[in-house]
């Protein structure tokens, strides 16, 4: 893949004319915004909204939260049938938006997507944060299956303090929800890829692996194995947090991301 800024060219300043109040205003736009791409897990984009606000306000960054196609009532084309397909779609999204120095932050299934994006060698992606991610296989530390769980059981596994779990929306009808169907379409029934850990061994991007200490879906030991699979990684354990730190302890998660290396 070519570098973002073509060899021998200047960094772009976008010049445009915008007509406002009857005047044509020539604007030279130098955008050096530092972008973040936030990738949600199986519980949907709502689990990223609050943290996205916090990150954008506190760091004055550009924060993008896509809805994985198939989630939230959106359509998933048949061509998107694997985690790598979704990752390639988001790399193309960064191309379409012409973003550089993107930090990809993914939670749970979104962490797997972040890992796959990092492996695609896009020069637009300068680092990844994997928060209670899934995707690798770790002997003795299986990913807890969430299929068929009652909301209360899911909250028990996902939160250090289940009382902090948002009230589940009333679910109509029987059978797996469309969101869960989309998740299984991407992640497969095993919710992991036996080749991922080995592939991560060749990654040369900085990756911060952050784990809720009380995660009942993927254990902290699984998280340490995730970090160990990455040559350039740092592992941070968040106390009093579960599988969704951005929901349960967003300030602590933001602090962990921003204070790294201080």
């Amino acid at each position: 893949m070519s570098t973002t800024i073509p060899a021998g060219s200047l960094r772009p300043t976008r010049s445009s004319s915008i007509t406002v109040n009857g005047a044509e205003v020539a604007v030279a736009d130098r955008d050096r915004t530092r972008p973040f791409l936030l990738l949600h897990g199986g519980a949907g984009p709502a689990t990223m909204a609050g943290f996205a606000d916090l990150l954008a306000e506190r760091t004055h960054s550009r924060v993008l939260v896509p809805t994985h196609p198939g989630f939230g009532g959106t359509r998933r084309p048949a061509s998107l049938a694997a985690t790598t397909d979704l990752a390639a779609t988001y790399v193309a999204l960064l191309d379409a938006l012409d973003l550089t120095d993107v930090t990809v932050v993914g939670n749970s299934f979104g962490g797997w997507v972040a890992a796959e994006m990092a492996l695609m060698d896009s020069p637009r992606v300068s680092g990844a944060v994997i928060v209670d991610g899934i995707g690798i296989e770790v002997d003795g530390h299986p990913v807890t299956s969430v299929a068929g769980l009652e909301p209360a059981q899911l909250a028990q596994l996902s939160f250090h303090d289940p009382a902090k779990a948002p009230r589940p929306a009333a679910v109509g009808g029987a059978g797996p929800s469309p969101d869960l169907q989309a998740l299984i379409a991407y992640a497969g029934p095993a919710m992991s890829d036996p080749t991922l850990a080995d592939r991560l061994g060749r990654l040369h991007l900085p990756v911060h692996v952050i784990w809720g200490e009380s995660d009942g879906i993927v254990s902290p030991a699984y998280g340490r194995a995730y970090a160990d699979a990455l040559p350039l990684s740092t592992f941070t354990l968040l106390p009093r947090s579960g599988h969704l730190p951005q929901v349960e302890s967003p300030e602590e998660l933001l602090g962990a991301i921003l204070d790294l290396g201080r």
């Binding site: 570098t3 973002t4 800024i5 073509p6 060899a7 021998g8 060219s9 200047l10 960094r11 300043t13 130098r30 530092r34 973040f36 550089t100 120095d101 930090t103 060698d121 896009s122 020069p123 637009r124 992606v125 300068s126 680092g127 990844a128 944060v129 991007l205 900085p206 990756v207 911060h208 350039l232 740092t234 790294l260 290396g261 201080r262």
Partner: protein, 261 residues
């Protein structure tokens, strides 16, 4: 009459230096990657460099030796290229043909330009340079550490018109914060030894991306720390912080009688 000496910083450590009709390009870096960002505008593309009489390269790191970008931008690989053996070997492999290998205290002549490699120290093998032509002299510090051997430059090579020094004190986090570039205080200290007519800091806007800055590198991005330190250590020396693309004309050396130490 004194020959005009100018310098235009393109970005980072890429400088376009002119001494009279000679045009010298230092440590070229034009592109970006996932963990290397200029952090400032790149003032010129390869196509608008104009004729170049010599390229001088201190070491092979990507942000100082972006030869791929030069070639992709149509740069003439027959242009004389001066550097340590690590660099000229690399350049030969990329198709550069007029190579001049110099190690510390060795000199190469490229037309009227004399390039003397001076000592350097970094994460990889590095030299610094003293460029001289028509009675004007430039010290180019690349991104070296401050090492005592550099103090010999005035005695060995005479007075300096322009000193260009790195100032960000870059540290490599995964290497136990090993420092690989001189910091502002060390650069000011070296400037006081070199006693140039004008000093210009470079190598400070660069960053490694949001996570890279926190996990790979740590660096001082404020060049005022250098000018402040220099004002304390050697207030008689003029220093200028220069934006990319601004051409600076270096004043003529004042006539000094007797030997300056």
């Amino acid at each position: 009459m004194t020959t005009p000496l100018t310098v235009t910083r393109i970005a980072h450590a890429s400088q376009l230096i002119t001494i009279g009709d000679l045009r010298i390009l230092t440590d070229p870096w034009f592109t970006q990657t996932a963990t290397y960002y200029h952090g400032e505008p790149v003032a010129r593309g390869v196509a608008s460099l104009g004729p170049i009489d010599a390229v001088v390269v201190t070491h092979e790191h990507y942000d100082h030796c972006d030869l791929d970008a030069l070639l992709a931008g149509g740069f003439d690989p027959g242009t004389p290229l001066v550097g340590p053996g690590t660099v000229t070997t690399l350049a030969a492999g990329k198709g550069f043909t007029d190579l001049h290998t110099v190690e510390a205290w060795e000199t190469a002549g490229v037309g009227d330009l004399t390039v003397t490699a001076t000592p350097g120290k970094h994460g990889v093998h590095e030299v610094t340079f003293v460029l001289a032509a028509y009675g004007r002299t430039v010290f180019f510090g690349g991104d070296s550490l401050r090492i005592p051997e550099l103090d010999q430059i005035p005695d060995r090579l005479g007075p300096i018109d322009l000193a260009i020094l790195p100032v960000n004190g870059l540290c490599i986090r995964p290497a136990a914060f090993e420092q690989v570039v001189m910091d502002a205080e060390q650069a000011a200290d070296l400037t006081a030894v070199l006693q140039p007519t004008l000093a210009i800091p470079h190598h400070y806007a660069f960053h490694s991306g949001f996570l890279g800055d926190r996990m790979i590198t740590r660096a001082d991005q404020d060049p005022r720390h250098y000018t402040d330190a220099l004002a304390r250590l050697a207030p008689e020396i003029t220093a200028r912080i220069v934006l990319p693309g601004v051409e600076v004309t270096v004043p003529t050396r004042p006539v000094v009688t007797g030997r300056r130490r």
